[in-house]
Symmetry: C2
């Protein structure tokens, strides 16, 4: 009852989409937050090179500045919110803010996944917090869930749809049978994909986020370089149609799982049984399916991007910092993500060649007798056994697709078998394969 209201002064660097959402939430919901938590959040400054453009938020006078260092060097500011994205000058700003004794909140997954060790080490040294709830899955409080909600669990596996752009593209390709390039162009036109979509469609953004989730879950430090990354650019409407015929959907998944005391870290298009809950997560929506040894299966679903959802995560971090107080580093390690802190957990990251899963192949073969026998022979020699075959549209002597679904096999055997098969004269184009995750068989 006698809670003293404490104020926390916030400066935002970067007044773009997420910056606008964050400012709007702080300004509109300050009363609600104070009633709920006893903390008053004060939006003291916003820095952006463009202070003129109308973002649809009424910013009080004197708040806007073009100089980030007016925030970083302001002794009255407690929390610096970095929302400019990219590596520099975001990193410089963050380190300077920490050195000045500020807590930092950020949505910058690329920076944390690739330069996080330096940043978390500095936060540790300064006894300050880095809040990064907004860096993974937008408004879904997945960082809090992994770090606190499931803290009692050995995390057995994580399967995440954590890139809205890819999920939007795959969803439209699935619903309309449209090719990748066409849907990408449309997504760019509609603002769901950036002018340079590389990070989204090549799985890099997904890998940044997986790096953070896996580090929290397994204490393996920030292992972005060790994440296997494969995007969705080679997926065709035909693959999606065959997947459907076999009872699967294709999603770009972030996968982390413990197998034989090693960690698999991989991002790739994945065939999932269409009746899985996560298979029904469509359009720009995100979901993270997490299995813990105590809690069993859980899933977290919501908007992975956008001004207000991501702003919701940013503001929850600010509230947490206000609630925990300045000594939170001693209480629940700032250095949580540092490999050094977690040394000796004994987890090794598995090379992609060593994984075992089910595979979908689409061979392009010359339609003549004996082709299936030839291909299944090579697969058999590489210890790969077949669970289903689809052969359609017979056109004697012409190139036709031959679809094969395998039982569990080793990636190394798959790659070797494909190399051998692609050299045989019956194959008319490079063979494509897609990994399958199916609890029934895995």
């Amino acid at each position: 009852m006698s809670q003293a209201v404490q104020s926390v002064n916030v400066g935002i660097i970067g007044f773009g989409t997420v910056g606008s959402g964050t400012a709007r939430i702080i300004l509109q919901n300050a009363g609600l937050i104070e009633r709920r938590t006893g903390k008053k959040i004060i939006l003291r400054r916003i820095a952006d090179l463009d202070t003129e453009r109308d973002r649809g938020v009424a910013i009080p006078q004197g708040v806007l500045t073009t100089d980030a260092f007016e925030i970083i060097n302001d002794p009255a500011i407690d929390v610096v919110v970095e929302l400019i994205g990219g590596i520099e000058p975001a990193k410089k700003f963050m380190l300077a803010a920490l050195k000045n004794g500020k807590h930092v909140v950020t949505a910058n997954k690329a920076l944390l996944a690739t330069h996080g060790t330096e940043i978390f080490t500095e936060a540790d040294a300064q006894h300050r917090s880095i809040g990064f709830e907004a860096a993974v899955a937008g408004g879904i409080p997945i960082i809090k869930v992994m770090r606190e909600g499931l803290a009692a669990n050995n995390i057995l596996s994580i399967y995440g749809i954590i890139n809205g752009t890819s999920n939007y593209i795959l969803t439209r390709m699935t619903k309309e049978g449209a090719p990748f390039d066409m849907v990408l162009k449309d997504a760019q036109r509609l603002g769901y994909a950036e002018a340079d979509p590389t990070f989204d469609i090549e799985g890099i953004d997904t890998a940044h986020k997986l790096t953070l989730l896996a580090s929290l879950s397994y204490g393996i430090g920030l292992s972005f370089d060790k994440v296997y990354k494969e995007g969705i650019t080679a997926i065709t409407p035909e693959d999606i149609a065959y997947a459907s015929e076999l009872g699967y959907k294709i999603k770009l998944l972030a996968i982390a799982k413990v197998v034989d005391s090693e960690i698999e870290l991989r991002v790739h298009p994945t065939m999932l049984p269409e009746d899985y809950l996560i298979s029904k997560v469509d359009d720009v929506l995100n979901a993270v399916y997490v299995v813990g040894d105590a809690v069993g299966e859980t899933m977290y679903y919501g908007r992975g991007a956008g001004d207000m959802p991501t702003g919701s995560a940013v503001v929850s971090d600010i509230i947490d910092i206000a609630s925990r107080g300045e000594t939170s580093c001693e209480r629940r390690g700032c250095s949580f993500l540092n490999a050094a802190q977690n040394a000796g957990t004994g987890f090794k990251i598995k090379d992609i060649s060593d994984i075992e899963t089910m595979y979908y192949f689409r061979f392009t073969v010359v339609d003549k007798p004996g082709v299936l026998s030839k291909i299944s022979g090579v697969l058999g020699e590489h210890n790969i056994s077949i669970s289903a075959v689809i052969q359609k549209g017979r056109r004697e002597g012409e190139a036709v697709p031959l679809v094969v679904l395998t039982h569990k096999a080793k990636e190394r055997d798959i790659v070797n078998a494909v190399r051998e098969i692609d050299k045989t004269p019956v194959v008319a184009a490079k063979t494509r394969f897609i990994r399958v995750e199916d609890k029934e068989y895995n």
Copy 2:
């Protein structure tokens, strides 16, 4: 890096299902938890009247006792975990533990929903925490999500499947077309329903949990008495089949939502469009769908009961208490759930008569010409307009079902119309109605 390991000494009262799971997690995952959080959780005592039965957990010597007060009065114990359930002696134990300066963790939704004000007030006075993550939706960290993860949001609505027993029964009725009584008996035989299933099948357990969620979300205190409660005992396989024909599934839902600045709090069987993600949550699984003004739609899914999932939630609360330290009440109100603390939020709880939604009717009528006209006439007089009608199995002069789906209507009008219709000679049995939640129309 220099985190000092702090120990927290735990005593568990109640060595049943959840008590065993909690003990197992503490004993098995203590090393993991210490690496992750820097806190050592020590299981010091477990009290239960039965200290002989084998629970499949190896409990160190000297830990078991038959006397709960050996825990409550042990000065070395920091956290008392209450897992006996029910009102007394759980309440007495909890209050005594708080008075002795212990933090309390509990899974007891019935006690908190009905006597929580007294308990939270005592916790406040003693500056101690009550952890109750395990009280709602088992292993899903929904309390943390609502209190912290979505703290920046005005919560617009909550839709929860938060009673595994009811969901199991409805799922089997749906899949098998089996009647309620038969599935209930089977559920009891399989251990999914208790010998006295009243709390589960009459919506009371769901209402206990909704009371806690709504209090966190709206600052309306613990309003269990004001929750509208209707169970699933009157649902028939015919209703489920008609719902399916209309594109809906029937789920026992906990609903809290803001409509015209008032709060609706209701628990009842609900028809939901079958393509909603939450409609696909079957068997004993739980899910809570939450819409916030900033975050938009989110959903949280997992096991709502069981030794290990619920134990996961209990242990996460213990870790939180260890991490926050003793002064957490000043930091993030222990009194969070007290109405007094939240006075003046201005929310009034809406009477069920005042709600507006869509309705499904199953009339049992004598099959003769003019019946539909008579019934639709009465509905029209009560401002209820029809969106669909199903009339099947014509048997002139006999009682047959007439199914009607309405557009949005007022509950008061619905009740009045049914009263009038049930008095007419064309009606052969009491009319049943089921509320429908459909974003398309609501």
